[in-house]
Symmetry: C2
Subunit: 322 residues, 2 copies
């Protein structure tokens, strides 16, 4: 099985690459990573191709390899898509459309031989307020960010290509990934990881929102697990609505902090510095707090047991390298 | 007020043009119609511009006129979008994005002077089965046609441009328009109008589905009324989710036929010839049957009182010219 991970240099892409190296999908699995850049240091022995998603010729050459399974994880993050309107739409919508069209051309040129699966990483950002307490599988996508709109649109596009039989696939709506290893990024959600990661590394962390904020989390290990699980699903079981909200852990920032206290003690908690930020608060107010992801549960997707497990996963998987 | 109707040569566009001519939005209203072609015969004294939505230069010239209110009614219809995959996406999604980008450029070039309103005609085709008995305002858009996906995507794009403050606007999800004047076409929904229109014109009509089929209808006059009403709404009242399902009449084919009997008698009803068509039945099974359009109701959109009124509207507005 030939696997391609577009966005394979990113955090989730790297986690997935390692998960596939540790436990291959089958005996002849090969994995190719495509991204603008790759992190240095220890990496699995996968092929790496550097390139830009918006470079049509590069994508054409790439997809000419006819991968059986294509993970599409690449996107401009929410904060940047909000700040750079045109750039966000160009990458997150237009380049995804171009990818789908290029892949469709390969499928049609194969005359029935080639039928890949596309696993697209979407986000709970497809939902916008007001919300019910728990968002069910039939709740509308009414995003309040450009990033969320672009993800919702990409889901709709992929769904139609699947419905028309050009390829198999599904969209995986990831929870906010926590604890993200490495440095803070431009995402407005960055602090959810920062308030755990920085103290565990003996550093101060800024908390820009009240600790009553509730949100929906999954560990990087769970995210890689969702993507791996998506590879083996029967398309008929996925059904007519192949955009699935993944399971996760719903908890408040206060509960996150309690988890940190239990694991790392009061000294760690004291490193969290409240510093209210109206811009971030306004963005976070528009984010979902809790879900009832019944369809994903029924399809066997599983997430972390609780926020303490999420912290422990960071300590096991990422703290040693930090 | 300078008004532009893109798709002004189509059936609903012409109805809207006449409605605006009969009752102008204000004292200095001017109306321009843009379409590939226009019907002959009696038309209101509006300016007509022939052109193609996919012609970027033509759209740039057109939008350079800085219309205060732009109705966007143009699209490839559902049957054609399903048959010609690439063409449907090019026109219904890509040309709409190009329209939005061209309009945004005008707005930005005006340095705060120009702030148009865009009223986009969407469709109940954004919904796909399985449905609840009545589809509420928070039910997901999970279309099962390319046309529906393109409409849902256009809604999401317009919503984001509105959210970012580039322009005002909203998307109007039209019910199936009934009774459509003119000739029968190859659309799967054609019979909903045909079984009323043909008998009223002394002609036979084919009924390809059981009379238990329930669907959601509005007259052409109501459709023009929705669009006219949309011009005067306060953007703050429209709120964060400017894609609105319009009110309509939910009734079965049997109820449609009873309406015809009441208006035109048993002889007219005898002109309806049941001729089951599995293909049409399968398509119609995937269509919504009923809605609870509470937000549109609260905003003052009003539809026909019942199906008898829909028939009477055809008799008043279109039968004389038929």
């Amino acid at each position: 099985m030939k696997v391609l991970i577009i966005g394979g240099g990113g955090m989730v892409g790297q986690k997935l690459a390692r998960a596939l190296a540790a436990r291959p999908l089958n005996s002849d699995q090969t994995v190719t990573l495509f991204d603008m850049a790759f992190p240095g240091g220890e990496t699995p022995a996968h092929k790496q191709i550097s390139g830009n998603l918006t470079d049509k010729a590069a994508i054409q050459t790439l997809l000419g390899e006819r991968y059986d399974l294509i993970y599409h994880l690449a996107s401009i993050v929410s904060g940047e898509a909000e700040a750079r309107f045109e750039f966000g739409w160009s990458v997150n919508m237009m380049a995804f459309r171009s990818f789908l069209e290029t892949l469709r051309a390969e499928v049609e040129a194969s005359e029935g031989v080639y039928h890949p699966r596309v696993v697209f990483t979407s986000s709970i950002a497809v939902f916008g307020p007001p919300f019910p307490d728990k968002i069910g599988d039939e709740f509308l996508s009414a995003p309040q960010t450009s990033y969320g709109a672009q993800k919702a649109i990409s889901e709709l596009m992929l769904t139609d290509y699947i419905r028309k039989g050009f390829f198999d696939g599904l969209s995986i709506r990831l929870p906010t990934i926590c604890v993200r290893p490495g440095k803070a990024n431009l995402a407005a959600s960055s602090f959810f990881s920062g308030i755990i990661r920085e103290p565990l590394n003996g550093q101060e962390a800024i908390l820009p929102v009240p600790d009553s904020v509730r949100h929906w989390h999954a560990s990087p290990r769970s995210a890689a697990g969702f993507l791996r699980h998506a590879a083996g699903l029967d398309q008929a079981d996925i059904g007519l609505r192949p955009a699935l909200t993944m399971p996760g852990v719903s908890c408040t920032v206060a509960e996150q902090i309690e988890g940190l206290r239990a694991v790392a003690g009061e000294d760690a908690v004291q490193l969290i510095k409240p510093q209210p930020d109206d811009t971030i608060m306004r963005i976070v107010k528009g984010w979902p707090r809790n879900f009832a992801p019944e369809r994903a549960n029924a399809l066997g997707f599983t997430a972390d047991a609780d926020f303490a497990s999420i912290i422990q996963t960071y300590i096991d998987d990422d703290l040693p390298a930090a």
